[in-house]
Amino acid sequence: MASRRAADAADPVEQRELLSTGDVARTIARIAHQIIEKTALDTGSSDVVLLGIPTRGAPLARRLAAKISEFSGVTVPTGALDITLYRDDLRKRPNRPLEPTDLPVSGIDDALVVLVDDVLFSGRTVRAALDALRDQGRPRAVQLAVLVDRGHRELPIRADYVGKNIPTSRSEDVAVQLAESDGQDRVVLRRGKEA
């Protein structure tokens, strides 16, 4: 996905930092607080599972789970849900390698699943994730948490938790970089590239 490309140091394309390392950490902490509040997680009345969408959604889900545990003392089952096999644009892109799907042993039946991704763009990834989820079980409800919402939705999908709304043009590219895959945490906006 174009919006997930890591920035290349040698890339001559103009880029602007939208979130610094500190901003990313604060944003994740804020989303963790919002999840605790909205799901009443600390009252023991809900059964929350965090599922990250690879590549960058998976480490984000793990970080959110760590923050939730730190703030509320509740350990939230966390996993990864690869949606590649459910995409509707497989014939339009070069072949992409599959990432592992790794669901918590407790499963997702009757759970409140929070899907976690780095960027919300057209909404097609989330649609594919909903299909993938349906094949894995029947959650009680599904919510969506994203670090960045850049707009340009092509489907009627909206996130429950948004780290930062960033209005973009289609020719711009939002690149989320995380320490786990890119060596540092930050979000940059790159101009002049067809997204």
Partner: protein
Amino acid sequence: MRHLLSTEGLDAATATSVLDTADTLKQTLLGREVKKLPTLRGRTVVTLFYENSTRTRVSFEVAGKWMSADVINVSASSSSVGKGESLRDTALTLAAAGADCVIIRHPASGAAHRLAGWLDGVGSQVVNAGDGMHEHPTQALLDAATLRERLGELAGRRIAIVGDLLHSRVARSNVHLLRTLGAEVVLVAPPTLVPTGAEQWGAEVRHELDPELPKLDAVMVLRVQAERMHGGFFPSAREYSIAYGLNQARLDKLPEHAVVLHPGPMLRGMEIAPAVADSPRAAITQQVSNGVHVRMAVLYHLLAGEELGA
């Protein structure tokens, strides 16, 4: 990948990527009640079999269906081939009817390559499911997937392929792939069943099995291909069995971790003793189940990516 015709020339990166995809697919489907993915919805896969086969055809059919492709089985005996239609016309008919991929098994070596040449122009893809004595690439890939599961990385492992090398497409495909993945291969067979030029495949050739056993990480036992033999390759089945059959005594000489493979169908009691075939060291049923995941991976690599210029 445009077609999958042989493992000769298949580079390590592509082969590893197919094996990794197969692993991920296996994990994805593990424990799921509904083993169906929407990935190839709307794509049509035809199996065109000019030779009888149970496991390969069923394996491809299951793989296609689990990926939601429409799978159509054509067997030569029940099609226009019986009326004398040529392979080219049959293939072009299938492509014109909308086949995105033709999986072919044919008794003539090179048939899959010819087919790929004809179908290149119309955008259909070809998978070789065994052509004569030439190659059977998906069998080699599923063998490699099974060996990776049992042994970990294949680089530096020593693997023996034992039996009828002369008539075996499985042996040829395996030698190429295992060597590409960094394994050492030793071919063991009576001199009459070693094809001319086998030394140039990059594998050692031996005629005695027993001295090799303690050094091996895996043994692949081949079927004695009675239907391709025209007599005189060895004196008797009993003599073959004594010299090359994998029996319990030979199994005991293998290192503790060594794995036994067989592409099937097995001639129990001749090339492999029943006790060996059923022992936990044999990975024969694991090969069959890996076969489905490997073929799903191959279909994914061929059919899921960007549409190639048709």
